[in-house]
């Protein structure tokens, strides 16, 4: 067991974890952040995307011990009194169907907009290449990210 201290959505946790424990399992099963789902086991789908020190990572591809001393933000920490502009835009553009990919999609999109506040549609598509959705055909996800960018989501 290894002792780690991680801040998750603004709350600091100290836990003993197995060295092999994946960050996503730590978040879901020890911290109770079940808003972050798991869609695959090869880091292809992106459903488990969170921010580690402000940068998006696939939490199935990070060990909990690698998150020691870091700040993790999950979908549950995105709203700050009101929904994050991306959450608002995903709602307004009907970019959600079953909702399973949505947390990861929003976390990846937030990082995309941080790097590129005014992306073209093609840049949005390329930027979200690591996040799979089976319901929407991506049309409304692209529109939502564009709408959030126009609303200043990167600021």
């Amino acid at each position: 067991m290894a002792k780690i201290t991680v801040t998750v959505d603004g709350v600091t946790y100290t836990d003993d974890v197995e060295p092999r424990l994946l960050l996503v399992h730590y978040l879901r099963e020890q911290v109770g952040k079940t808003g972050t789902p798991i869609g695959c086991d090869t880091s292809n789908c992106g459903a488990c995307t969170v921010h580690k020190n402000g940068v998006s990572v696939k939490s199935c591809a990070v060990l909990a011990v690698q998150a020691d001393g870091t700040e993790i933000t999950t979908i549950e920490g995105m709203a700050d009194g009101q929904w994050h502009p991306l959450q608002q835009a995903f709602h307004a553009e009907h970019a959600v169907q079953c909702g399973y990919c949505s947390p990861g999609m929003i976390m990846a999109a937030a990082d995309l907009l941080r790097n590129n506040p005014n992306p073209s549609d093609q840049e949005i598509r390329d930027g979200l290449e690591g996040n799979l959705c089976r319901c929407t055909g991506y049309e409304n996800i692209v529109r939502a990210v564009r709408r959030a960018a126009e609303a200043g989501a990167s600021s």
Binding site: P37, G39, C45, H91, H94, V96, C98, L132
Partner: protein, 788 residues
């Protein structure tokens, strides 16, 4: 008087943002894998690495001694209680339905079949212990190709042989249609095997307390599952509760009674503890039922002007190793759709279901209709090429004209409405069809290395499953009705209970719109409950684009009953004749005296108090209704796709995609557009990207999302969508939309690819049309002297 602030009609057709989104966008979700129960244990399955083998021993001793392990079981431990997984659609009287134990006991017939299960205190310990189970196998010969599986010397999957059934259907005189026909075209098309790939992996939690069972499952079918769990296990149905919490997509893959669901219930009973199992994606690719996998031989006979005379279809359908819930019935859902929108004199259909040592196939978005639409729309393009006319022109010469509806097709379906002319005209306009044809001709003349192709798909489909009597005539084991109930609460709010079980479709929103429209109550005051057999005790669940066309109509029936009862009570309270009471905008009043009246909310409170009800009227304002449709639903439309094909690399790029769909009246255009977008994407995925590949020993090679190419945003185009409207025959005027996009788009894309390559003498590319396949087809065409 909040009810009066909204004109009731405004709810239908309104782009309401979804009620479901609040929890889904903030992570306050209720996925099955989120469930934690006191003392809950985790299951891990040991799965066969062999496609066909006899199990000679299963040694659980090492696993049982591992840390955290509570129990380990092999098939023998369940032999007396596990029954056989159900097939609800034995399509012929002499169909072979092999026993299908949830856990293999003596023989395995596909890679991934469960042979043991380990139960431990956490998922890591369970996985470790599963790896320590030692299973010995004696290999048996594999059967992988349905084209050779029926040969006499083929190894057998089951004792009874490799043929499950043969199902035939014929109308008209086919010999006469083909005799001396000026044009006869025959093609063989391949429907590759697909993996449905819902984003949420399957997950199950089972609990047994004092003989009562609760099963949480990521399922599309909580009601069907409850019924069949009782049948399979012998547990009394009244002691089983099935809950489908938030479910992350299905596409048919969660229309199933799975081995893992049955075994979770049995393990929970053995151990007296709740158990959870959530599959990994790799495990899911192996063992979630697959889709499609057919060889299609299709022949048409036509006059020299392109008028169709006859159509003949001969299918080989890969069942996989066993028949699962509706495995053999999937091709039958296509049997009636090969004639599509076209008139002809004769039609014959034959399907042979064949066993192989692969994962069973079953329903996948469209289920039978995508296959049918693909074959007919592909061969209509061949007919156009043969005659040298535009593909839309040859279709128009054959399709049912809008003034001919209702129309009984050669496949005996009665299409209630449609306007193929209008949808096609609109699609051509949106694509700029004529200009693109001009550009294509110029680029072909210039020998442009990047060719333009234009693909056409004028599809229709049958959905809204289904009239129960028709299902009965096809030997399906259940009905096709749907149930709804309405409860007006004392505060005037409304609880709506539906038997359909959404997993992304937005029923909570659309159902609220329907009830708000019918009852004149605010959209916000309505709560929709579903997906729990204790809360919604009756239902047939969600598949086959049935929820709105069937479940929505059940809602309308339940609203009718509430209004009728409230009207009766209002008349009594106002001392008026019931025939003089009108219901407008959520308010009952005496005709000619709008001031004398009560809102439906006031009546709800009055029925709760029950101080002044007419004689014989029961307190409370609620109702139940069941709706059994008298026909299928027939959405249709015209999809046009323009592709750029790089002849030097084989790369296909979709340049534009236009979909004009006729799905009747629209309840919520946002939700409809979303269904169409996602449907198109899934059809494009079959055309260009996805294929489940087994090697020649029966190992699945595409076990991950790195190998099985579910397309990303970067792989797909933007879609232009529009609608025409021919209302369906039900009171809402609605048709199904969940599968239409998938049914339409696959042939549109492949027709476009082949259209681009036709100048090279190429007339087919086997799906998925990968760069390699396109490039090889071009190489072969050039070696064979195809015109360049």
């Amino acid at each position: 008087m909040t009810a009066d602030t909204q004109a009731p009609q405004s709810e239908l057709g309104r782009a309401r943002l979804r009620k479901e989104d609040a929890r889904l966008l903030t992570g306050e979700t209720n996925w099955t894998d989120n469930m934690v129960l006191p003392g809950m244990l985790h299951m891990a399955f040991v799965r066969s690495p062999m496609a066909h083998a006899r199990i000679t021993s299963v040694d659980l001793s090492a696993a049982r001694s591992m840390p955290g392990v509570i129990a380990a079981f092999s098939g023998a431990d369940f032999a007396d209680e596990q029954g056989s997984l159900p097939c609800a659609w034995p399509v012929t009287e002499d169909i072979v339905v092999p026993a299908h134990p949830p856990m293999a006991t003596d023989e395995v017939r596909y890679v991934g079949e469960a042979v043991a299960v380990v139960v431990a205190r956490d998922r890591y310990e369970a996985a470790d212990a599963a790896a320590a189970v030692d299973v010995s196998y004696e290999p048996l010969p594999v059967v992988l190709d349905i084209r050779s599986a029926l040969e006499e010397n083929s190894p057998k999957v089951h004792e009874a042989g490799n043929k499950s059934y043969e199902w035939v259907f014929a109308q008209g005189d086919l010999d006469e249609a083909f005799r001396d026909a000026p044009v006869v075209i025959e093609r063989n098309y391949r429907q590759q095997r697909l993996i449905p790939s819902a984003m949420e992996p399957r997950s199950v939690v089972a609990m047994c307390e004092a003989g009562e069972f609760t099963l949480w499952s990521a399922t599309q079918i909580p009601h069907v599952l409850r019924f069949l769990l009782a049948v399979v296990t012998g547990i009394p149905e009244q002691n089983i509760r099935v809950i489908a919490p938030d479910v992350g997509g299905g596409f048919g893959s969660k229309l199933q009674v799975t081995a893992e669901e049955v075994l979770a219930v049995l393990v929970a009973r053995k151990l007296g503890k709740p158990v959870k199992w959530t599959e990994s994606r790799s495990e899911g690719n192996l063992t979630v039922h697959h889709g499609r996998d057919m060889w299609q031989r299709i022949r048409i006979a036509a006059d020299s002007d392109g008028r169709l005379r006859g159509l003949s279809v001969d299918l080989l359908a890969d069942m996989g190793a066993y028949l699962m819930l509706v495995t053999p019935g999937v091709p039958l859902l296509g049997a009636f759709m090969y004639p599509a929108i076209y008139k002809m004199d004769a039609y014959s259909f034959r399907c042979t279901g064949v066993f192989t040592t692969k994962m069973p196939t079953d329903a996948y978005r469209g289920a039978g209709r995508p296959e049918a639409t693909y074959a007919i729309e592909r061969i209509m393009d061949e007919l156009a090429a043969e005659l040298g006319v535009d593909p839309l022109e040859v279709r128009e010469r054959n399709w049912i004209k809008h003034e001919e509806f209702p129309y009984t097709t050669i496949a005996t379906l009665q299409y209630d409405s449609g306007n193929y002319e209008a949808a096609t005209a609109r699609a051509k306009e949106l694509l700029g069809y004529d200009a693109l044809r001009q550009e294509q001709a110029e680029r072909n003349l210039d020998n442009d290395p990047v060719r333009l192709g234009i693909g056409v798909s004028t599809y229709t489909e049958m959905c809204g499953l289904a009239p129960s009597r028709v299902l009965g005539s096809l030997a399906y084991g259940a009905g096709g009705w749907e149930h709804a109930s309405i409860r007006m609460l004392p505060t005037g709010k409304v609880e709506v209970v539906t038997g359909s079980s959404a997993h992304g479709q937005g029923h909570e929103t659309a159902w609220s719109q329907i009830v708000a429209d019918q009852l004149g109550v605010p959209f916000e005051d309505i709560r929709v409950l579903h997906g729990d057999t204790q809360i919604a005790p009756k239902g047939m669940d969600t598949y086959g684009s049935r929820s709105l066309a069937v479940g929505g109509m059940a809602l309308v029936g339940a609203c009718d009953k509430v209004i009728a009862k409230a009207k009766h009570i209002t008349a009594h309270m106002l001392e008026a004749s019931e025939s003089d009471i009108e219901f407008v905008g959520g308010r009952f009043h005496v005709r000619g005296d709008p001031k004398a009246g009560h809102t439906i909310q006031e009546i709800a409170l009055a029925t709760f108090a029950a101080h002044n009800l007419p004689d014989g009227v029961e307190p409370s304002l609620d109702s139940e209704a069941t709706y059994d449709p008298d026909n299928f639903s027939f959405p249709h439309g015209t999809h046009l796709c323009a592709v750029e094909v790089d002849t030097e690399t084989g790369m296909v790029t979709i340049r534009s995609y236009v979909a004009v769909d006729d799905i009747g009246k629209v309840i919520n255009p946002l939700i409809v557009d979303g269904q169409v977008h996602g449907g198109i994407a899934q059809g494009i995925a079959q055309a260009l990207y996805e294929e489940a590949v087994y090697d020649d020993e029966g190992n699945l090679l595409t076990t991950t999302l790195a190998d099985y190419l579910v397309p990303s945003a970067a792989d797909l185009p933007s879609y232009v969508t529009d609608r025409t409207e021919s209302p369906a025959g039900n009171r809402l005027g609605v048709k199904g939309v969940g599968e239409a996009g998938t049914i339409a788009s696959t042939p549109a894309v492949v027709n476009a690819v082949v259209d681009a390559l036709r100048p090279f003498g190429i007339r087919d590319i086997t799906m998925p049309c990968t760069p390699e396949r396109v490039w090889r087809a071009l190489q072969n065409a050039q070696e064979n002297g195809g015109a360049a």
